[in-house]
Amino acid sequence: MQSLTNRSRVVSKKTMNFWERIYLPAIFGGMWITIKHFFKKKATLRYPEETREFSKVYRGLHVLKRDENGAERCTACGLCAVACPAEAITMVAAERKKDEKGLYREEKYAAIYEINMLRCIFCGLCEEACPKEAIFLTDRITPSNFERENFIYGKDKLVEKIDQRIDVSGRQKHITEKK
């Protein structure tokens, strides 16, 4: 039968000659390739002692930013949750009390803010939707864990510590340029 394309090949069932039958040249050829790799640059590194350099716009673990006075920027507007294609974000809002002015920037704040890291696909739509520049993706990696519950990150893990600010200027620039 005539083939429709020219891609078909006839399989050759050639019998092996003596050198091919003793396999030794092929074994040494394989060993040579293996030994060559001893002297090449390693593809892996010793994580976590060493870490790889990330792109400035890498999308990793989220952070909820504070403003320059240390007040939480998030106002629980829900735009990140409605933009999230994986529906990983949930929140409960609360009203700021008079003596909490230094803690929260707006009169409404997120009392509960949770991201399910197993659902999250790190697409970055939440930070694009955020009108308050509160949520950003950082160059940190979500650590592995044995329990599924531990992947639901609450405010204790997401909000940046006042004394350990997280630099997000790279992503911030990237998002404003995109807008």
């Binding site: 409605v82 809002a93 707006e106």
Partner: protein, 317 residues
């Protein structure tokens, strides 16, 4: 009643004599209806304040076909035989509307992320469609303190656009006026005569007629955003009102109760405060089914009901 024929955006329509241009356009329906922030068909005397419904009258009538010299407010201009009205087809109208949105937003705080009205706000929709992306206003906006009107209603005077709808509601729906506008011009503000509590069975309706988030429900304050809730039509036997409402549910919790609104976003029948504020248990209500919400609205986001095909609105009344 005599019928009058007129043309709005090249669509001919026949309406009763004495109808306003806005109501004639609403009878046609679709996107040629001018937006209205202050006019409310069920409130007498409303309209003519916000100027968002301005249209061009290209021919006054068949007897006198001269165009009207200025744009007219369609909510308060009656139709004439042979009138030709231009709304979306006239660039002058659209340009003016853009400027009017800018005016309305001059003192508006733009705190939509905090505001409970976000997602169902007329001003938000209007500025999304007609407004500028950036503000050109460089001065300080006027600010007021947040006021509690009674224990159920919150007044954010900052967000108010002075449409007077709530004042007309308080005058006409409820008996005994306790709610009005104080001062004049740029200083005018909605007030209840030194923060007196509105004490009336139907006072809660001012929340529904407010086109912005100036008057909001304190029982719903910061509970949820509207697009996370599940709106269901429901009714109950109420001795004071019709009892037909929309329940905004989250699971089995009733977060908020609203009066039902028609496709012009106006309340169909006003409801009493007992229905609105006190009946927050599912056993009080008989649920009829999901509220019809435009599928392009943010409230329909992430709701996985079967898609409702957009039905063309009726061309003739």
């Amino acid at each position: 009643m005599n019928k009058v024929k007129l043309t709005i955006d090249n669509i001919e329509v026949e309406v009763d004599e004495g109808t306003t241009i806005l109501n004639a356009a609403r009878q046609i329906g679709g996107n040629i209806v001018p937006p209205a922030m202050c006019y409310y068909s069920s409130l007498k005397g409303s309209g003519g304040k916000c100027r968002t419904c301005l249209v061009k009258v290209a021919a006054g009538s068949s007897k006198d076909p001269r165009p009207m010299p200025k744009l007219v407010a369609s909510c308060s201009t009656p139709v004439q035989e042979g009138m030709i009205v231009e709304n979306t087809v006239n660039p002058e109208v659209l340009d003016t509307r853009k400027s009017i949105v800018e005016f309305l937003l001059i003192n508006h705080p733009l705190d939509c992320p905090v505001c409970d009205q976000a997602g169902e706000c007329d001003l938000q929709n209007l500025s999304y469609e007609h407004g500028l992306e950036q503000t050109r206003f460089e001065f300080e906006k006027r600010t007021f303190d947040v006021i509690d009107i009674g224990d159920k209603i919150k007044l954010h005077m900052n967000r108010c656009i002075m449409c007077y709808r709530c004042v007309y509601t308080a005058n006409q729906i409820t008996d005994g006026r306790v709610h009005g506008v104080m001062n004049r011009g740029d200083h005018s503000e909605i007030s209840t005569y030194i923060e007196q509590a509105i004490d009336n069975d139907f006072s809660g309706n001012v929340i529904d007629v407010c086109p912005v988030g100036a008057l909001t429900d304190r029982t719903f304050r910061f509970k949820s955003r509207v697009w996370f809730t599940n709106p269901q039509n429901a009714h109950r036997d109420c001795p004071t009102c019709c009892g037909k409402v929309v329940l905004w549910l989250s699971g089995d919790d009733i977060l908020r109760v609203n009066a039902r609104k028609n496709h012009d976003n106006e309340v169909e029948e006003f409801i009493c405060n007992t229905c609105r504020f006190d009946k927050k248990s599912l056993s009080d209500w008989e649920i009829e089914g999901p509220t019809d919400i435009d599928r392009h609205s943010v409230i329909s986001q992430n709701h996985y009901e079967l898609p409702v095909i957009d039905q063309p609105k009726k061309l003739t009344p």
